[in-house]
C-alpha cells in the first residue's frame, strides 16, 4: 500500500543524503520524493511516497524521526488530505490533431505552456490518478517527454492521528 509521509526537516546540507541513504540502507522503497523550502527558510518539507505494509511504513516513520535533522514526521495514511502531483508533458501534436488535444487539455483542466510546430508542452496538476489518466490519454498521439515532481501533500483541517509521537 502507498503511504504519503511528510517530514519537516532542517534546511541544511546533507539532510536529503541522510534520508536517501537511510532508505537504501534499510531496504525501504521510495516511490517519490519531493523537497522544497517552507515559509521558514531554516526548514524544508519532504514529501515521501513509500510502498509497504503498515509495519514497514511504521519503521520508516520511526527511523525518519530518529534522524537528528528531521524535526517532525507525519504519515497521512487514512487521513483526509490533499495530495497533488505536477507534471510537464510534451505531446506530439500535428496540425490535424490540435483540436482533439486541445479538448483533452480542457477536459483535464490542464494548461498549454509551450508550443512548437509539431508538439505542445502541457502543465497538469492534480492527484496522481489524474496525472496517470492524462498520460494514458496522450499515448495515442505520441509522448515525447514527461517530467513529474512527485507527490506533495497537506492534511485538511484537523490533525492527523499518526502525527509523530
Amino acid at each position: 500500500m502507498k503511504h504519503i509521509i511528510s517530514a519537516l526537516v532542517l534546511n541544511k546540507p546533507g539532510v536529503l543524503a541522510h534520508v536517501a541513504g537511510m532508505f537504501a540502507a534499510r531496504a525501504f522503497n521510495i516511490d517519490s520524493l519531493a523537497v522544497g523550502r517552507t515559509d521558514d527558510p531554516s526548514l524544508s518539507r519532504m514529501t515521501i511516497v513509500v510502498v509497504g505494509d503498515d509495519r514497514v511504513v511504521e519503521q520508516v516513520r520511526k527511523q525518519l524521526a530518529k534522524i537528528v535533522t528531521i524535526v517532525k514526521v507525519q504519515d497521512f495514511v487514512g487521513h483526509d488530505m490533499v495530495a497533488r502531483d505536477l507534471m510537464l508533458i510534451t505531446v506530439s501534436c500535428p496540425g490535424d490533431k490540435r483540436a482533439e488535444i486541445q479538448a483533452l487539455i480542457e477536459m483535464f483542466n490542464a494548461k498549454v505552456v509551450d508550443i512548437s510546430p509539431k508538439s505542445v508542452m502541457v502543465e497538469v496538476a492534480g492527484p496522481e490518478t489524474k496525472i496517470e489518466a492524462f498520460i494514458d490519454s496522450c499515448r495515442p498521439y505520441g509522448i515525447k517527454n514527461v517530467v513529474r515532481t512527485g507527490t506533495v501533500a497537506m492534511a485538511r483541517y484537523g490533525r492527523t492521528q499518526a502525527e509523530n509521537q
Binding site: 546533507g14 541513504g21 509495519r55 519503521q59 520511526k62 527511523q63 530518529k66 537528528v68 535533522t69 517532525k72
Partner: protein, 573 residues
C-alpha cells in the same frame, strides 16, 4: 603582561583561535582523556592540546584509538573522545564508529578536514567524512562557521550521551581551527529534531506491571540498554520483587550478578540451554534495553511462541522492528523499572522455577574436563577462579568471545566489554587499553583469539608506552575458530582459508617491550594465569588450546531457540 593590559583584555570580548575553543569546550564537557592520532589538518588543534590538562593517548592506528575511546566510554559511562586527521585518518575511524553505533556507545569523534575553500576539489587527504560516516554515526556535522564550534561540540556531547547513546562525529576544516573568533557564552542547546522520551507512559508502565503480576512463567530478557542507562540496581529490585528469572544478551551480561539464583545467564545462538528453554516456554517476555537481534532470537516465527511481549526501550524505532510487541513502553530503563517496581507484587512461581532448575541441572554449560589438551573453556574458568570473578574482561570476536561469555560469570555492569552488534575482530587489545585507562586500579584482561589479536596487536606498543598492565590471554587454536566451526558444521569440514600462519606471539610481545610467554601444557595453565595476573607490565600469554574445539550449545542459523545442537556432546564423552 601589565595589569592595565589584562584589564583591557577582559573588557573587550575575548578572542581565541578555533583550536583553543575546541580544547576549552572539550574540557568544559568533561573530557579528561582523549585518544587520537595526528595529521596535517589537526595540527592547530594538537598544538593547543599540548598545554591542556587532558591526558592524551596516541594509538598506533586510528581504528585502535576509536576502540579505546569506545571501551573507555563503556567502562566509565562517560563520553569517549577520539581525534583523527582528514582523509585516511577519518576513514580509519569508520570501523570503530560502526562498532560504537551498533552497541550504542557514546563517543564524540573529531576529524580534521581540508580548508573550506578546498573542499570538493579532491585535495590532499580529502575525504567526504560526513558522507562516509552518516550511516554509522548517531549524528554528524561539518563546521563551516567558527562561531558555531563550541555549540556544535556541546550538542555532540549531548546527543552522544542521551537517549540511546551513540557516536557523533564533528568534521572541522583546518581554517576553522586557525581563525580567531570572539568567545561567546554558552547558549541553550536547541535541537528541534532531537527529542528523547525518558519517562514512559504511566498507563503503559501499569499495564506492564499488571502483566508481570499476572504471568505464570515470565522471563526478563535484558540487553545492553540496562547497562547504558545505569539501571542494573533497578533491574535487580524488579527481578527480586516480582521473582522473575533474568536472561541477558551478550551486551547485557553483568546487569545482574550471574551468581544470583535468578540468573539464567546468556540466551541466544550460544546461550545456555536453560535460558533458551525458558524463553521458548515463557508466557511473558519482558525485554528491557534489548533489540531482538537475530543472534538472540533464532528463527523469528517460532521465537517465544507462547509469550506476550513487553518491550521497554528508549529508542522507539527498536520497538516492533523485529517482533510484534504487546506492551511497548518507550523510555529510560532506569525510570521505567523504578516506576514499574512500585506496582509489582511477589509471586512464588514454584512450578516455573522447578522447571528452570531442572533445565539448569540437566544442561549446565560443560566441556571435556578430562581432556589431555588445553581446553579453551578451562583457561577461562581458571582466569575466572583466580580473579575471583572481579576482573574487567575484554574480548575480540569469535569462539573465545562466546566461551568468555559462557564461562566467566560477570558480577557487575561495565565489567564485560565486547563487540556485540558489529562483531569487530581486533576490538580486544585496543579496548583493553581504553578500559585500563578508565579503570587504572582494576585487573583488565583481554581474552582474545589469535586471529582477532593479529588484526590490532600493534597497539601493544601503546600499552608499553603508557605503562598499562593490560593482560592479553590468547586462546590460540591457530584458526579463525568460529569460521572453522561453521566450516566444520556446514561446509563439510572444508577449512577454506581459515588456518593462519601465526608469529611466535610471546616473542612479538617481547619485541614490543611487553612480557610474553607460551603455554602448551595443560598442567601449566594455573601457574601461567598466576604469573600473568602478577605481571605489572603489559603481558601476552599464548595458550595453545585444542584446535578443533567447538562452542556448544549452538542454535544453527535459521533454527528455533530450543533446537540446540551439542547438548549431549559431553555426556557421550
Amino acid at each position: 603582561m601589565s595589569n592595565k593590559t589584562s584589564e583591557t583584555v577582559t573588557d573587550r570580548p575575548q578572542r581565541k583561535p578555533g583550536s583553543q575553543i575546541i580544547v576549552d569546550t572539550l574540557i568544559e564537557q568533561g573530557a579528561d582523556v582523549i585518544f587520537g592520532y595526528l595529521g596535517g589538518v589537526v595540527l592547530p588543534l594538537f598544538d593547543k592540546l599540548y598545554d591542556a590538562p587532558i591526558k592524551f593517548i596516541i594509538p598506533r592506528h586510528e581504528q585502535g584509538g576509536c576502540h579505546m575511546a569506545d571501551a573507555y566510554a563503556r567502562a566509565t559511562g562517560k563520553v569517549g573522545v577520539v581525534i583523527a586527521t582528514s582523509g585516511p585518518g577519518a576513514t580509519n575511524l569508520t570501523t570503530g564508529l560502526a562498532n560504537a553505533m551498533m552497541d550504542s556507545v557514546p563517543i564524540v569523534a573529531i576529524t580534521g578536514q581540508v580548508r573550506t575553500d578546498l573542499i570538493g576539489n579532491d585535495a590532499f587527504q580529502e575525504a567526504d567524512t560526513t558522507g562516509i560516516t552518516r550511516p554509522i554515526t548517531k549524528h554528524n556535522e561539518i563546521v563551516k562557521d567558527p562561531s558555531l564550534l563550541a555549540q556544535t561540540i556541546r550538542e555532540a556531547f549531548y546527543i552522544a550521551s542521551t537517549g540511546r547513546p551513540g557516536p557523533v562525529l564533528i568534521d572541522i576544516p583546518v581554517d576553522m581551527q586557525t581563525t580567531e573568533i570572539e568567545v561567546e557564552p554558552p547558549t541553550k542547546i536547541r535541537l528541534p529534531g532531537y527529542r528523547i522520551r525518558e519517562q514512559g507512559h504511566a498507563r503503559q508502565i501499569s499495564a506492564a506491571a499488571q502483566a508481570i503480576n499476572d504471568a505464570q512463567r515470565p522471563v526478563l530478557y535484558i540487553g545492553g540498554g540496562v547497562i547504558a542507562a545505569n539501571a542494573a540496581e533497578e533491574l535487580r529490585s524488579v527481578a527480586k520483587k516480582a521473582n522473575v528469572p533474568v536472561t541477558m544478551t551478550l551486551m547485557g551480561l553483568g546487569s545482574l550478578d550471574q551468581n544470583d539464583p535468578l540468573s539464567l545467564d546468556m540466551l541466544g545462538m550460544h546461550g545456555t540451554a536453560y535460558a533458551n528453554y525458558a524463553v521458548q516456554e515463557c508466557d511473558l517476555l519482558i525485554a528491557v534495553g534489548s533489540r531482538f537481534d537475530d543472534r538472540v532470537t533464532g528463527k523469528l516465527k517460532t521465537f517465544a511462541p507462547h509469550a506476550k511481549i513487553i518491550h521497554i526501550d528508549v529508542d522507539p524505532a527498536s520497538i516492533s522492528k523485529n517482533v510484534r510487541v504487546d506492551i511497548p513502553v518507550v523510555g529510560s530503563a532506569k525510570y521505567i523499572l523504578t516506576e514499574m517496581e512500585k506496582e509489582l507484587v511477589h509471586r512464588d512461581r514454584t512450578e516455573w522455577f522447578k522447571r528452570i532448575n531442572d533445565w539448569k541441572k540437566r544442561h549446565p554449560l560443560r566441556y571435556d574436563t578430562n581432556a589431555g589438551t588445553i581446553k579453551p573453556q578451562y583457561v577461562i574458568e581458571e582466569i575466572y577462579r583466580q580473579t575471583h570473578g572481579d576482573a574487567v574482561v575484554v574480548t575480540g570476536v569469535g569462539q573465545h568471545q562466546m566461551w568468555t561469555a559462557q564461562f566467566y560469570k560477570f558480577k557487575r555492569p561495565r565489567q564485560f566489554i565486547t563487540s556485540g552488534g558489529l562483531g569487530t575482530m581486533g576490538f580486544g587489545l585496543p579496548a583493553a587499553i581504553g578500559a585500563q585507562i578508565a579503570c587504572p586500579n582494576e585487573i583488565v584482561i583481554d581474552i582474545d583469539g589469535d586471529s582477532s589479536f593479529n588484526m590490532t596487536m600493534n597497539e601493544l606498543c601503546t600499552a608499553v608506552q603508557y605503562e598499562l598492565p593490560v593482560k592479553v590471554c590468547l586462546i590460540n587454536n591457530n584458526f579463525m575458530g568460529m569460521v572453522r566451526q561453521w566450516q566444520h558444521l556446514f561446509y563439510g569440514q572444508r577449512y577454506s582459508c581459515s588456518s593462519l600462519q601465526n608469529p611466535d606471539f610471546a616473542k612479538v610481545a617481547e619485541a614490543f617491550g611487553a612480557v610474553g610467554f607460551t603455554v602448551k601444557d595443560k598442567a601449566q595453565v594455573p601457574d601461567a594465569v598466576k604469573k600473568m595476573l602478577a605481571e605489572k607490565r603489559p603481558c601476552v600469554v599464548d595458550f595453545h588450546v585444542d584446535k578443533e574445539e567447538n562452542v556448544w550449545p549452538m542454535v544453527a542459523s535459521g533454527k528455533s531457540l530450543h533446537e540446540m545442537d551439542g547438548l549431549d556432546i559431553f555426556e557421550m564423552a
